[in-house]
Subunit: 282 residues, 2 copies
């Protein structure tokens, strides 16, 4: 078994220490921010939030690297910070796992790839959701038109502050359309009102009250032209633990890649992490 990886970052893993595989990694008790903030306690560990606008962030990072060999940065900061943060990790040779979306994605990938920098970059860190998404895509690639004549309906529920349709729903609808459904994503039902979210299935979404502010519920229903056949696919996520677990998996995957040394590929996504599934020690 290889040496523990350390993680830095105010990220899902920091909020779900349960996800950490204690035999394989630990949380570095330091996070970076652009604001002055009080330390936070995470699973009995006090994590200091360093304001990197006051000092030289590079010096702080170099000090952390020296103190915690195998350090991997975890980045779930703001979309506006995506490209600058990636450049910072590259400059200091710190492998990173980035779940932050937005920014210039092409530049993000190109910068990391050109530098042969180790990174896992993925807009969706929920491994199981990614696996489901990939399975639907594979079905569409292999069996185009298999659901011709079927009518698709899509219902998704997220916290009221989320205005747009979820990116995951968009990707999955694309696969269903390749399967022959002809669905216009504008016809997806976006549930954002609390009474419907709370109401039990099938009247409502059955979201637990404590997760109203952080949930991602998706239902895809396919009905045959004559109404005799129905398929339904659901993925309902409450809170952040699935993302935390995926992040830890991504970090451990990345640590193994770093130890193996740079081959052709150094920039990965969650599909790569999933492919490794059978090799990860649980």
């Amino acid at each position: 078994m290889s040496s523990p990886a350390a993680l830095v970052g105010p990220a899902p893993p920091a909020r779900s220490v349960r996800a950490l595989r204690a035999d394989r990694c630990f949380l570095v008790p330091v996070a970076f921010s652009g604001l002055d903030k009080e330390p936070v306690e995470i699973g009995g560990v006090e994590v200091v939030i360093e304001n990197i606008l006051n000092d030289d962030a590079g010096d702080k990072m170099e000090a952390l690297k020296a103190k915690y060999p195998g350090l991997i940065a975890v980045d779930y900061t703001l979309p506006a910070a995506v490209n600058a943060n990636a450049a910072f990790y590259v400059k200091h040779g710190v492998p990173f796992v980035m779940g932050t979306t937005g920014g210039d994605r092409e530049k993000l990938l190109a910068d990391a790839k050109d530098a042969k920098h180790f990174a896992v970059i993925a807009p969706q860190m929920g491994k199981q959701v990614v696996a489901f998404q990939a399975a639907m895509k594979t079905m569409a690639d292999n069996f185009p038109g298999a659901f011709s004549g079927y009518t698709l309906s899509v219902t998704e529920s997220h916290q009221s502050s989320k205005v747009d349709t979820s990116g995951t729903a968009k990707a999955i609808v694309e696969s269903f359309n390749a399967l022959g459904c002809g669905f216009d994503i504008a016809d997806a039902t976006l549930v954002r009102d609390v009474p419907t979210q709370l109401a039990p299935v099938p009247q409502g979404m059955g979201v637990p009250e404590e997760h109203l502010l952080g949930h991602a519920f998706h239902t895809y229903k396919l009905v045959s032209a004559d109404g005799t056949v129905a398929f339904e696919f659901q993925h309902n996520v409450c809170g952040r633990s699935i993302y935390a677990e995926g992040t830890v998996d991504a970090a451990l995957f990345l640590r193994d890649r770093v130890e193996a040394g740079a081959g052709e590929k150094t920039v990965y996504d969650m599909i790569d992490v999933l492919r490794e599934g059978g090799m990860v020690t649980n």
Copy 2:
């Protein structure tokens, strides 16, 4: 466009003429049986049931072949007849689509393959169910262990006369187990009592009353260890039209293969039919 295929057999397509693609095939108004039976009317066509125990079945088949070029036999007869029927089709050079299960399956496949006989042989003719099953298998093959720590529950409802767990459920549970669920198929909930079948979801299965005697409802639910993430997959089939449609697709697929001439492969399954999906004229 190629010439119409003709179909023979007391099969789902005969019962769901709507599924026939009239521009590409038609139903031969003859079916074979081991009993004396009255003719049946199917979509305005009177189909004669020939008792092949009274006469020489081979002569009857040769006469049909002469009268209906491109004839394809459709076989949904009894498990006990599987191997003898296949030998009969091979002897008379009649390509066949066989949805009948049971019999000596190895011998069935070997006999057809050795003779380079054209056939589609599949225990499940519902194209969309097969596509879903294949998608779960691919997910398991590509991402072993992706659902480690998840708890699976399986509920299936079939007509009360069906005693055993459905073969489709067994196959799909195998994939979920490769994904890490560790489910014992003996723990599947088999709903066979009518009140539960009729009761609306989520208390019951929501089976329409007219389909009590012929339905196949399956629900697979996966819940993460901490209960924050749930996936649900359902495929609910009422009646036979999905099988009829799949049978017609299989027959048209087979006719195209026959016209293309024997290559390496002449015996196919529904995965082969599905792969062709994009090429089939709807």
